[in-house]
Structure formats: structure tokens, C-alpha cells
């Protein structure tokens, strides 16, 4: 803790060994930690999903007890959301926001490291909860009572406390990011000159600060209902199980946009580079992002159309949900218009971005279908919903992350990745993803319920196709790991600006980016 002894940076080297990572105050190193952590969580939660798909390969019970099936779906959801997608975006925020706005680091480098290191105890609590008596939490990632109150397993408490810790991490991280963006921009970098990724993170950080504390409140109520005799979710004491759903989804819907807005920012960065045109409608992108964020606070009950609400409430939430398609449509239109008559090339990041535009739009449209009240009453808790949110979260969030990793790998490592292998990774991922999830639209509309380990015979073919796709999808991510490791180890040297159409301050520093950058802020014209 010699924090005060060496307070200025004469040396431009960096600490070595384990201390470089555990005690880091460097946004690039912490960003790297976040990205690796999220990738391993992605593989872990993906392996859980393969357990689900193995069980669903055929009707009947093959490998898993129904309780264990429920544990897999629950942990898959929790870890993918809180362990893989969110930390990956924070990793990008760490690495790229200071570089994009010309800041020397985040506003609070020590707190930044704390945000990362809080992920570890949370992940440990979630992962070790598999081995406690009573088994892992099994009521679904949404943890609806009464199941989550009545389940006597200690794993539920461990998961609740893990989410509390993740909440602290997210709130601290978001305050850090929002402060950095508002206060540390280089001279001349006005708000409306900021790269769109920075804008989307500014708004995402606001969503996190507004919604994570509400989740903390809900989790606290759940914990006291479990152990301290309160009756928030127990009608016998005057409470209401549906109350959980309201409070949870008041957090949960902004959370959905927390996982997609930075993805919008990423592809809004990548598409102009490879279309060699400025982003079409920059200002409208900013306003559309803000509109989506504000609307996200008034749509939450569309997750609960079938759980008890007056018709007036259902109608309100149906219309407010449909409104979201307007700003989202603006974005999709702008991406397409950016490509229109562009001088396009199709490197791996661009392939991923185009796929995101196309596949996310499918997910958006199926979301619109789910928003229609009478239809939702049919598709609630079916595989149609599973298909919908995987088109949004995998082909929206996860694939934009992959594209962005390829986009900035040269900046991070100083080497070009293997373009041929990257294209292989893209095509296998995209095809396998669609093989996995497209049939779920059909099984869902035909009435196959989600979160059940067995199913009726008529769904057998589609499920078998889905399971084949899932294993191909899972295994192809090992190729991704290989490509990234290969790129770190060496390859063709990357220029400071390896993409000729790229814009932005991050390309003005050498590749790999030096340990310290922009200690003296650049001036932006």
C-alpha cells in the first residue's frame, strides 16, 4: 500500500508479475482483465447451455434430473448476463473510452480496479453454489417467488449475495464511467463530437445507476422474506408474489438495454469504418439511444402480461413497448443508410456487424410480436420467447462483442489477427446460431414450454436440429479463443491505424497502445 510514495509517473514502463494485475490502476490492464473474465464466463455458461441442449436432444429424460435441468437454465442465464455480456462491455468501456475521448485513464482508477475484483467473489459464490447441499439456485434467473422463497438451499442466498456484490461493482463502475465521460474529455471533444460508443455507454451507465439499486432492493426483500420473517411476497401476510415481478422487471427491462445499447455503439463504430462513410444521422442516433433508455423505464410489465394486471395496465405496457420500435428502427435505418453506396469491404468485424444488423432486427421484430398482448398470452413462457431473446442477446450483444474484439485486436496486441480463421469463426458462429435458435420460433409458436426438460414427440426434429446447432456454436467459440491467443502471440505487425476508413483518437496512438496514453490531453478540432 505504498500508494503515496510514488505518485507521479516518470517511468513509462509498467509493474510486472502478479502485482501488475491485482493492484492495477491502468484502464487498459483492467479492461483486459474484464475481457478475459467475461470470455471464461461465456465458455462456462455456454457449457451449461450445452447441458440443456444435450438433455433436449431427444424427448424423455436422458442425462439430467429435472431439478438439475432447472439449475442449468438458471445459472446459464445469470452467468451469461452478469458474468459474460455485462463485463465484456465494461471491458470495452475500460479499454476504449479513455482512448476515444483523449483521457489519461478513467476518473477513479482504483475504484475501477475494485469494480473488476468484485466480480471474482460474485463469480465464486455463484459457481460454488452448485456444490452446496440442496444444489444450485433453480427457479430461473428471474428468481420469482414463491419458488425462490421456499427453496431451502443455501445456494439461493449465495446467489442473492453474489448479485448484491455485482450490483455494487456495476454501480461503482458506472459512476466511474459517467464521471469520466462528463469530466475527462479532451479539449474540443464536445458532447456531440463523442464517438457513438461513448454516447451509448454514457446512457448505459445512467441506466445501470438507476436500475441496479432497485434490484438491490428487490433482492433484499427476497432475502428477508427467506430468513427474517417479512411478507413482501407472501399474500398471507398482505404481500404479493407479483410485487417481486414488478420490482424485478423495473430493473430487468433497463437491464436488457444495458446489454444492447453498448452493442449499438460498437457496430455504429465498425460499420462506418468498413463502409468508408461517416455514420449516417449521428445526432438522430444519440437521440434514439436516449429515447430507448427513457422508454425502458416504462415498459417493464410486458414481461408479466399473463401474471395478473388490469387491462388498462396491459394496454399501457403494450403501447409503450411498441413505441420502442421507433427509435430502434431509426438506428437500423441509419446503419443501412451508412452502408448505402459505401465503399464496402468485408473484414471479419464488418461481417459480424452486418450480421448483427440483420439478426438483431429479427430479434427486434419477434419482440414486437411478443409485445402484442393477445399474442403474448399465447407465446408467454414458450420457446418463441427463448428464440426472441437469443436473437437479441446472442446475435445482438454477443456477436457485436466478437466483431469489436476483431476490430480492436490490432490496437490491443499490435498484431493483425488471422483474417481467414476470423472469417471461418464468423460463418460457423452465424450459421450455427441460426440452426440453434431459428427452429425455436416454430416450436414456440406450436406451444413448446420453456424450462422443461422433456417435451412432446412432435417437437423432436426441431429440438434435434437445435441441439446440433448448439454444439457447433459452442465448439466454434474455441476457435475464437485460438484466434485471439494466436494474435496475442504474434503475426503481421499492425499499423497505428490498420483500417483505412477508421476515425477516432484511438487510432492516433501506436499499436499496441502504450501503457500510458494521452497523459497530456490532445486537442480535438
Amino acid at each position: 500500500m505504498s500508494t503515496n510514495t510514488a505518485t507521479h509517473h516518470d517511468d513509462h514502463g509498467h509493474p510486472t508479475g502478479i502485482m501488475r494485475w491485482v493492484a492495477s490502476t491502468n484502464h487498459k490492464d483492467i479492461g483486459t482483465l474484464y475481457l478475459w473474465f467475461s470470455f471464461f464466463m461465456f465458455l462456462f455458461a455456454g457449457a451449461l447451455a450445452l447441458g440443456i441442449r444435450a438433455e433436449l436432444f431427444q424427448p424423455g429424460l436422458q442425462f439430467l434430473e429435472p431439478e438439475n435441468f432447472n439449475r442449468l437454465t438458471t445459472l446459464h442465464g445469470l452467468i451469461m448476463i452478469f458474468g459474460a455480456i455485462m463485463p465484456a462491455f465494461v471491458g470495452f468501456a475500460n479499454w476504449m473510452i479513455p482512448l476515444m475521448i483523449g483521457a489519461s485513464d478513467l476518473a477513479f482508477p482504483r475504484l475501477n480496479n475494485m469494480s473488476f475484483w468484485l466480480m471474482i467473489p460474485a463469480a465464486l459464490l455463484l459457481m460454488t453454489s452448485i456444490f452446496v447441499p440442496g444444489g444450485a439456485i433453480a427457479g430461473g434467473w428471474t428468481m420469482y417467488p414463491p419458488l425462490s422463497v421456499q427453496n431451502p438451499s443455501m445456494s439461493v442466498d449465495m446467489s442473492i449475495l453474489a448479485l448484491h456484490i455485482l450490483g455494487v461493482s456495476s454501480i461503482v463502475g458506472s459512476i466511474n464511467i459517467i464521471t469520466t465521460i462528463l469530466n475527462m474529455r479532451a479539449p474540443g471533444m464536445t458532447m456531440m463530437k463523442m464517438p457513438l460508443f461513448v454516447w451509448t455507454w454514457l446512457i448505459t451507465a445512467f441506466l445501470l445507476i438507476a436500475s441496479m439499486p432497485v434490484l438491490a432492493g428487490a433482492l433484499t426483500m427476497l432475502l428477508t422474506d427467506r430468513h427474517f420473517g417479512t411478507s413482501f411476497f407472501d399474500a398471507a401476510g398482505g404481500g404479493d408474489p407479483v410485487l417481486w415481478q414488478h420490482v424485478f422487471w423495473f430493473f430487468g427491462h433497463p437491464e436488457v438495454y444495458i446489454m444492447i445499447l453498448p452493442a449499438f455503439g460498437l457496430i455504429s463504430t465498425i460499420i462506418p469504418t468498413f463502409a468508408r462513410k461517416p455514420l449516417f444521422g449521428y445526432a438522430s442516433m444519440v437521440y434514439a439511444t436516449a429515447a430507448i433508455a427513457l422508454l425502458s423505464f416504462v415498459v417493464w410489465a410486458h414481461h408479466m402480461f399473463t401474471t395478473g394486471m388490469p387491462v388498462a395496465g396491459q394496454l399501457f405496457f403494450m403501447y409503450s413497448t411498441m413505441l420502442i420500435s421507433i427509435p430502434t428502427g431509426v438506428k437500423v435505418f441509419n446503419w443501412v443508410a451508412t452502408m448505402w453506396r459505401g465503399s464496402m469491404t468485408f473484414e471479419t468485424p464488418m461481417l459480424f456487424s452486418i450480421a448483427v444488423v440483420f439478426l438483431f432486427t429479427i430479434g427486434g421484430f419477434s419482440g414486437l410480436v411478443c409485445a402484442i398482448l393477445p399474442v403474448d398470452i399465447q407465446v408467454q413462457d414458450t420457446y418463441y420467447v427463448v428464440a426472441h431473446f437469443h436473437y437479441v442477446l446472442f446475435s445482438g450483444a454477443a456477436m457485436s462483442i466478437m466483431g469489436a474484439v476483431y476490430y480492436w485486436l490490432p490496437k490491443w496486441t499490435g498484431f493483425m489477427y488471422d483474417e481467414t480463421l476470423g472469417k471461418w469463426h464468423f460463418w460457423v458462429t452465424t450459421i450455427a446460431f441460426n440452426v440453434t435458435f431459428f427452429p425455436m420460433h416454430f416450436t414456440g409458436l406450436a406451444g413448446m414450454p420453456r424450462r422443461v426438460p422433456d417435451y412432446a414427440l412432435q417437437f423432436a426434429e426441431f429440438n434435434m436440429i437445435s441441439s446440433f446447432g448448439a454444439f457447433a456454436l459452442g465448439i466454434s467459440q474455441l476457435l475464437f479463443l485460438y484466434i485471439v491467443v494466436k494474435c496475442i502471440k504474434g503475426g503481421t505487425k499492425a499499423d497505428a491505424k490498420p483500417w483505412d476508413g477508421a476515425e477516432g483518437l484511438e487510432w492516433t496512438v501506436p499499436s499496441p497502445a502504450p501503457f500510458h496514453t494521452f497523459e497530456v490531453p490532445p486537442t480535438v478540432k
Binding site: 500508494t3 475494485m114 459512476i175 469530466n183 475527462m184 438507476a210 432497485v214 422474506d225 427467506r226
Partner: protein, 282 residues
Amino acid sequence: MSPNTNNYYVPSPSLWPLIASIALFLMAGGFAMQMNDIASGNFVLIAGVLVFFYLLYGWFRDVVKESLSGFYNKQVDVSFRWSMGWFIFSEVMFFAGFFGALFYIRNISLNWISQSTLAWPGYSSWTEFTSTWPTNGPAATQALEAMSPWGLPAINTLILLVSGATLTYAHWGLMKNNRKQLTVGLILTIALGAIFLYLQAHEYAEAAFTMDSGIYGSTFYLLTGFHGLHVTMGTIMLAIVLFRVLKGHFDSHNHFAFEAVAWYWHFVDVVWLFLFIFVYWL
């Protein structure tokens, strides 16, 4: 060593974040064990709390030293202001969740329970349930004796409002470089905070209901309890500011630690007003 304040201050590597991570791991793990009657849980929990206090002491000591050594330039100061504001906003949302739950229960779900026509075995009393507030629910066997607002709660409201004034008095003292006024104002504020906490504890001890007295007990104790926790933290923070004042820290230009605590204290005050109106009174 004269710090270079042209550039934004980036601290050197620090182990405090890792220690924070260890503290929270021990606290969360110990608490989970303790709630599930695993004997060693208490020890783990206590160990976590001890590490946590060591962390708070050490990290804040470093920050105070950096501040006194002049490492924080104007831009860093602005960062502190933004971040404290957003932190308080996150606290607002935390309480908003509980208030939202209270309003939902009182205005929506209790009406639904009272309209219930369930006549299943074991639920016969539910058909006679009428929606009133306060209530301890349709399955309750005992009448509920709610907290009256016009005893201790009204006194506590007065105490907190006065404490906001004494804190402003202290701030004026700081701005005018009147250290005596600053010290007296701070001591008064801390004393009022402590009296508030004492009276709140007394109110809990005398209350005719507990956390398991249905939804009234649940909302009452969690809302007032979290508020009390925030007053406790605010009082400790004020005590640290007083300690620093006595050591001669702060001047009329450079005292954001004082201001941040003052913002926090006023926020806690406003939460109490909402509590008084919606939990105790209406």
C-alpha cells in the same frame, strides 16, 4: 515532492481494491453461512467486517493524504462532485424501490386480496379480509398496533430538520474561516444524529410489532431500518470530518469531503420526510 497538477491524477498501483474484494467475499460467504445455521458463519462474517473496516480506514487514509499533498487539481475535484451526485442518485433509486413496493401493496395488491373469494380450506378468513392500512395480512391471528406518528417520529423529524440547519451553520463557519463555528456546528449535527439513532432504537424496542407482523411490519422495518443505517453512516462520516477539522484540514476553498457529507446528510433528511409522511403518518 511537489505534485504535477497540470495532469489528471492517476494513482499508483494499490492493493485496496483486492482487499475490498476479499472483505466482501468473506462478508457475503459468512452471511450466507450464518443464515443457514452453519456454525462457522459468524466467524467468517466477523472476519469480513474487520477486513472491511481496515479497508475503509486504509483507503480513506490514502485519499486524505493525497488530498493534503495537493495531488487533486480542479479537474479531479469536479470528478468528485459528479461521482458523489451520481452516488446519491443511486441511493435515491434504492429507496425508490422500497417506496414503490409500499405504494404497490397499499394501492393495488391489498385491494385484490380483499376482493378474494377463495373459500378453500385454510383460507376461510381471507374472504372477510378488507383492505385497510396498516394491516398484517389476511392470515394474521392478532390485531396490529401500528406506530403513531405524533410521538417519537415527530420529534425525530424535528431533530433531523434542525441537524440540517446546524450543518449549514457549520458550513458557513468554514466558508468564513471561523473554525469555532465550524466545530460547534459539526458537533451539534453529530449529536443530533446520535440522538435520532438512539430514539429510533428506542422506538424499535418499544414497538408492538416486529418484522414478521405481515406487510406493515415488513415495509416499516425495512424502510426505516435502511434509513437508520444511512443515518448511522452519515453520522460516522460527519465524525470523520470533525476529526479532520480538529486536525486542521480544510479551508474555505478546499473542502469537498465536507460538502459531500453534507449532500449525503441532506439526502438522508429528505428520505426521512418521505418516511414520515408515507410510513408513519398517512
